[in-house]
């Protein structure tokens, strides 16, 4: 096999590499570069603008944690809005809940969805559920027109540079608040605390969300292919607390088998390392 490596800068002076067997796809869409590779260790993986989005091997961690955490706090969720998530992974996990009635997915780049449908059927299968409605639109523009409509909003964004920029702004989070129903929850991809640039984005997102939602907490997961492997999610709500309002029995009654998530881990995920707590508390 040729010695082909996919490399990505995780920080200035730090690179993360995966040996690849071949590049299956490359294109420049209207918004970004889209690539798909095959590798022996991580299976097939998708990158956008040279940044790892998901690998077949570890995507379950991300998708478990961004979906099941809010569902265990509000198991009665009926309407969900997902922003980003062109790979279908979030939709796949949401589709496992029979009680959800309607899922809107707003992805800005139609090409991401097409490419994932072609090369990543394990996540793109999420789009097949009849409750899933795809909208190819700017997330901020979509949500501006919506009021009091969703029980749960999941913001599965790229990094806050390029097309994902608007999904890290106070005006976006504020519009999410407006779009949520009374006991609504917003979950967002919250960057990482470790490398300086990611940490800055993390702090900024926390600052913006705190200014809008009465409850704004952060939880963590271990994702091997993301910078530093230590990744965060935001849990913001109009009142529900992620641990005090956790409905263990109700969630268990769904009978879902999850490879990463469980209700003990749910509680533990909100206990953060000291340096992360300190960084976040700057704005609290």
């Amino acid at each position: 096999m040729d010695d082909l490596w996919y490399s990505e800068h995780h920080a200035p002076g730090v690179r993360f590499s995966i040996q690849t067997s071949r590049q299956l796809h490359y294109e420049q869409s209207q918004y970004q570069h889209i690539s798909v590779f095959d590798s022996s260790e991580f299976g097939r993986f998708l990158t956008l603008d040279g940044v790892m989005m998901l690998t077949e091997r570890d995507e379950f961690i991300y998708h478990d944690m961004i979906t099941h955490v809010p569902m265990a706090v509000r198991p009665d969720t009926e309407t969900v809005l997902v922003i980003g998530a062109g790979d279908g992974g979030v939709a796949r996990e949401l589709s496992r809940y029979p009680t959800i009635k309607h899922i809107d997915i707003v992805e800005i780049d139609e090409r991401v969805v097409s490419v994932c449908k072609q090369y990543l059927p394990n996540t793109a299968c999420g789009f097949d559920d009849a409750r899933v409605h795809l909208h190819f639109e700017d997330g901020l523009k979509f949500i501006r027109r919506v009021e009091n409509q969703y029980d749960l909003i999941i913001v599965d964004s790229t990094d806050p540079f390029g097309p994902g920029e608007v999904l890290f702004t106070k005006e976006f989070y504020g519009n999410c608040y407006k779009a949520l129903t009374e006991n609504g929850i917003m979950i967002n991809q919250h960057e990482s605390p470790f490398y300086a640039q990611d940490a800055k984005a993390m702090k900024n997102a926390h600052r913006c969300i705190l200014g809008i939602f009465p409850v704004s907490k952060v939880y963590q997961a271990h994702i091997p292919t993301y910078p530093s492997g230590h990744w965060l999610f935001g849990f913001a709500s109009k009142g529900l607390h992620p641990i005090r309002d956790l409905k263990v029995e109700a969630w268990k009654s769904f009978g879902l088998h999850t490879k990463y998530y469980n209700t003990n881990l749910h509680r533990g995920a909100f206990y953060l390392p000291t340096y992360v707590e300190e960084a976040l508390s700057e704005y609290e």
Binding site: D138, L140, K141, R144, P163, E165, V166, T169, K170, E171, F172, G174, N175, K178, G211
Partner: protein, 482 residues
């Protein structure tokens, strides 16, 4: 037809770099090599063309080669007989128009909502302002264009006036009937001077109001650095064939630097080429952005992003649809408050906010996602900060009482007294909200209760007041014994 694909100044600078000329002249940073920090900050490319006048690069004070050619190309592109490259901002263009058209004791007709640079020029030259009261839009609280009736009446009352000065368009996008005003003023033998600072695009865009040159005006000051894309502080002064350009050059040289920046000059040259080649498409895109934003902002509720529906055939003869001006009064928030919230809460810096309006400056450099951010942030401000709109000051324009000429007042014996005690006295300095930089008080005008109320209200709303010697405007200089 000249070859508008050329940029003679850029070409000369590139040639100079290629020739590897050894610099034993100023500037002392020697193409940046003598100032590593500055070079690291601004870039080597930039410092390498920060050079002085020399034979191959011509001389701004007396152009005979590449600057002359570049100015000729600009003149052709803007439909003028002559164009001057200016390096002191559009302020210098405005002042050159006035100083070359009126002198001490001459009357000049102008609306009161002029930029401070106009009245500054009157301080310098001693001409006497004859103000036309611009109509004020009742609901929006903004000054409009000149009505034909007012122009006719003023011309008849001041037959000896030497010039008329017109803002077209205003900061907010309001246009006067430039062709008609020019025609009548010319019949009276007046020179027509146009502040076209906010209308560079009129010479290039499709379906735009007429530019000053197209309307037959004699001179126009054009802020290339606004919609034209050149560097801050670069500007153009345009003259029609009725104007003696050689005399204008002498006037410009009274106050202009002899070390004109080649960064500014080349930015004018390159931007002119860009406008000449791509202007129609560029401004169509800006109009599309602005029209979209207007429609979306109006659907948020309470905000009023105005457009061509304002046109009344007279004081709003036309509207510049590249402008995105938004009235905020129904929200219970002053424009300046929305302006501050956008920056402090949403990291969005807009052009300005006055008491009732905000203006977001749109250009070809904007991205759709940023327009979405602006619209959404305005929606959020409405959701989070809307309040009762009683007690909002809805009137901007205060008709001035001119007691003496600006020059006399500026140089007269004066004393500093607390703002509250200034009623009835004659002010000897400017008081402005900045931006937009239109004076509330100008030298020689009488201070009234209404004006003091306005100043205090503006201060309380967070406006930045500039002009007075006393920096916080708690005291004003007034004429002694008057």
């Amino acid at each position: 037809m000249m070859d508008q694909t050329r940029a003679p100044l850029q070409e000369a600078l590139l040639q100079m770099k290629q020739d590897r000329l050894v610099p034993f002249d100023v500037p002392g940073h020697k193409r940046g090599k003598g100032n590593a920090d500055l070079t690291a900050f601004l870039g080597e490319q930039c410092l390498s063309v920060d050079v002085n006048s020399m034979k191959p690069l011509d001389n701004l004070c007396h152009p005979v080669s590449v600057i002359k050619e570049a100015e000729q190309l600009a003149a052709e592109a803007f439909g003028a007989a002559h164009a001057f490259f200016m390096v002191g901002g559009t302020t210098s263009s405005v002042q050159a128009m006035l100083l070359s058209s009126v002198k001490s004791g001459d009357e000049i007709i102008l609306p009161r909502n002029v930029h401070q640079s106009v009245i500054n020029a009157l301080v310098l030259c001693g001409a006497i302002p004859v103000y036309i009261n611009p109509q004020t839009h009742k609901r929006l609280g903004i000054s409009l264009g000149m009505s034909m009736e007012d122009v006719r009446r003023t011309l008849a009352a001041h037959p000896g006036a030497k010039a008329i000065f017109i803002n077209n368009p205003t900061y907010y996008g309001i246009c006067s009937d430039l062709r008609q005003i020019t025609k009548i003023a010319h019949e009276y033998g007046l020179r027509v001077l146009v502040d076209e600072a906010h209308g560079t695009h009129f010479s290039f865009g499709r379906n735009m109001p007429p530019s000053a040159m197209a309307a037959g005006a004699d001179m126009a000051a054009v802020s290339m650095h606004k919609s034209g894309g050149s560097l801050t502080q670069s500007s153009l002064l345009l003259c029609s064939k009725a104007v003696n350009a050689d005399y204008v050059r002498q006037v410009i040289n009274l106050t202009q630097t002899t070390s004109g920046s080649y960064l500014l000059l080349s930015s004018l040259d390159i931007s002119r080429r860009n406008l000449a080649l791509h202007g129609p498409d560029i401004f169509e895109k800006v109009q599309r952005y602005a029209n979209y934003a207007r429609q979306e902002i109006n659907s948020l509720g309470d905000y009023y992003a105005y457009g061509k529906e304002l046109i009344n055939g007279d004081s709003i003869f036309d509207f510049d649809t590249t402008k995105l001006s938004v009235n905020t009064l129904s929200l219970g928030l002053a424009g300046i408050e929305v302006y501050d919230l956008l920056r402090d809460e949403y990291d969005i810096q807009i052009e300005f906010g006055d008491l009732g309006n905000v203006l977001a400056y749109l250009s070809v450099g904007d991205k759709s996602k940023h327009i979405e951010r602006l619209i959404s942030a305005l929606g959020e401000i409405r959701r989070r900060y809307k309040r009762d709109n009683h007690g909002m000051l809805d009137h901007e324009y205060i008709s001035p009482e001119v007691a003496t000429s600006p020059q006399q007042a500026f140089y007269a014996e004066k004393e500093s007294i607390p703002l509250e005690r200034c009623i009835g006295r004659v002010c000897s300095e400017f008081v402005m909200c900045y931006p937009p930089g239109i004076p509330i008080l100008a030298p020689g005008e009488r201070v009234t209760r209404e004006i003091i109320d306005y100043i205090q209200y503006a201060q309380q709303k967070g406006c930045f007041l500039t002009g007075p010697e006393c920096m916080d405007a708690s005291r004003l200089n007034v004429l002694k014994g008057v």
